[in-house]
């Protein structure tokens, strides 16, 4: 065990090419997924904060429920969509990083939407009348509140990135864990552990822990007024 740890640290300090490739792909896939998820999730959250229609409460409930969406279920759904016999099989992107980005985007959209809806609704309770008085329509006011609460929004996005980079189920199913192509930190850890190659698994585990640790460090340092949200995310 001590030998494995020593070898793992050596892989990190010597910037092992295989390790760096896996880490780089992980970050690229999860950052892309968060960028897509941010666009869709923030827009959905802002809209849900102001839209009123029959079934609105049901939709809010559904989005909140999907916060706890298991990543393997997302992986399965995306697999069914993208597999050769699936409706999007003609795209031919199964077992590619693009498929992994799609799966992780689906995973983080409900998280971003649910948390940003709450942020926007709370902010509108304070300043919604003022913005409407100035001439803002409901959706404009909601989108402006995302700007107003941009630090809290950044916290939400960091949380989403943490969720994406640390999940294993979805990327394993839709990526296939192909060496050099779709192998990311979590899938590599699972594989190397089962193979008994503990040094690489440990090195990746340390890097992953470091990434998640940095994210939570940044969240803790953000001067956020919404202490309740920060505590909820911490």
């Amino acid at each position: 065990m001590a030998d494995s740890l020593a070898l793992a640290l050596q892989l990190i300090t010597q910037a092992d090419a295989q390790l760096l490739g896996i880490v780089a792909l992980s970050l690229r896939v999860s950052l892309s997924a968060c960028a897509v998820g941010a666009l869709a999730g923030l827009a959905l959250g802002a809209w849900l904060a102001v839209a009123r229609f029959p079934g609105h409460q049901l939709l809010v409930w559904a989005v909140n429920t999907l916060l706890a969406l298991p990543s393997v279920v997302v992986g399965l759904l995306v697999y069914l969509l993208l597999s050769r016999s699936g409706p999007l099989g003609s795209w031919g992107i199964l077992f590619t990083p693009t498929a992994m980005v799609i799966a992780q985007s689906i995973l983080v959209v409900p998280l971003i939407a649910a948390l940003s809806r709450r942020l926007v609704a709370d902010a509108l309770a304070q300043g919604g009348d003022q913005l409407r008085s100035l001439g803002a329509g409901p959706l404009t006011a909601a989108l402006l509140m995302l700007l107003h609460e941009r630090l809290a929004v950044l916290t939400v996005l960091l949380t989403a990135f943490g969720r994406a980079v640390a999940e294993v189920g979805a990327v394993m199913i839709v990526g296939g864990n192909i060496a050099g192509v779709t192998r990311v930190m979590t899938t590599a850890i699972a594989l190397e552990t089962s193979k008994g190659d503990l040094p690489l698994a440990l090195a990746l585990g340390i890097v992953l822990l470091g990434v998640v640790g940095v994210i939570h460090g940044v969240i803790a340092l953000l001067p956020m007024r919404d202490r309740g949200l920060r505590e909820a995310l911490a």
Partner: protein
């Protein structure tokens, strides 16, 4: 629900009665769930009026302001927004809240955002925001974050934002309630100037001295009903209905 008609004191002497109407309420009621916030309100806001809304907490002053402004639809009755006779357009409105809401942006950006929301052309925004900041004495603070301003300065910035829109009607919801005497005086002076410039002002306040100083008309609300509306001199100089007289004694024992 039949609301008792509000007492109207000395209507014959009310010169503003002839002025053009801007917003009218007819039997307007507002309900929040089972709670009645306003009931059977008949009120016509006329051009050039400075109307002070007084009444205890929960009497419906803020709800009436929001209803007049159009931020809230009446649950019953009718609100009519009249077009300005000379300009041929609906009146422009702005509102100053008890706690000013300012975006987490610089002082200048807050002003320009307000102008953008109001549809002011881009070419005019810079000049109008600079002019408004000069007017309230915040031009040297333009680049500071709005959140870094003191309470009085924030209220002045909110007033500048409202003023920059060149409103025909300005609604103020207890604008000086949480300010120290100096800041209160500054905000009152600005409101007075706006009134002199012809802006129609509707203001809720607990400060009867402020109502006397700034208002041409006073409306007294109690439990969501408009009990008395009258020109300021008539309101403070006449025998009021018992409820209003009791309120004045309770709020201002030296009267």
């Amino acid at each position: 629900m039949n609301a008792p008609l509000p007492v109207s004191l000395a209507p014959a002497a009310d010169a503003a009665a002839a002025a053009e109407p801007l917003v009218s309420l007819h039997g307007a009621a507002v309900h929040f769930g089972r709670t009645t916030a306003l009931a059977g309100v008949d009120l016509t806001l006329r051009r050039g009026q400075r109307l002070a809304l007084i009444g205890s907490n929960g009497s419906g002053k803020t709800t009436l302001l929001r209803l007049l402004h159009g931020l809230l639809p009446p649950s019953r009755g009718q609100r009519t927004l009249h077009r300005l006779a000379a300009e041929g357009r609906p009146p422009r409105m702005a509102m100053l809240f008890q706690r000013p809401f300012l975006m987490q942006l610089s002082v200048q950006r807050n002003l320009r955002l307000g102008l953008w929301l109001a549809g002011v052309p881009a070419a005019e925004r810079a000049a109008r925001s600079d002019e408004a900041l000069h007017r309230v004495g915040l031009h040297d603070q333009a680049q500071r974050p709005a959140a870094a301003l003191s309470g009085g300065q924030q209220q002045r910035l909110a007033l500048a934002r409202a003023w920059a829109l060149r409103p025909d009607i300005l609604f103020l919801d207890e604008p000086t309630a949480s300010l120290d005497p100096a800041a209160k005086h500054e905000v009152e002076s600005l409101v007075e100037t706006l009134g002199r410039d012809g802006v129609t002002v509707v203001m809720s306040t607990h400060n009867l001295g402020q109502a006397k100083r700034l208002a041409t008309h006073v409306a007294y609300l109690e439990a969501g009903r408009l009990v008395v509306q009258a020109p300021t001199d008539a309101f403070f100089g006449s025998t009021l209905p018992p409820a209003a007289a009791h309120f004045l004694r309770g709020e201002n024992p030296w009267l």
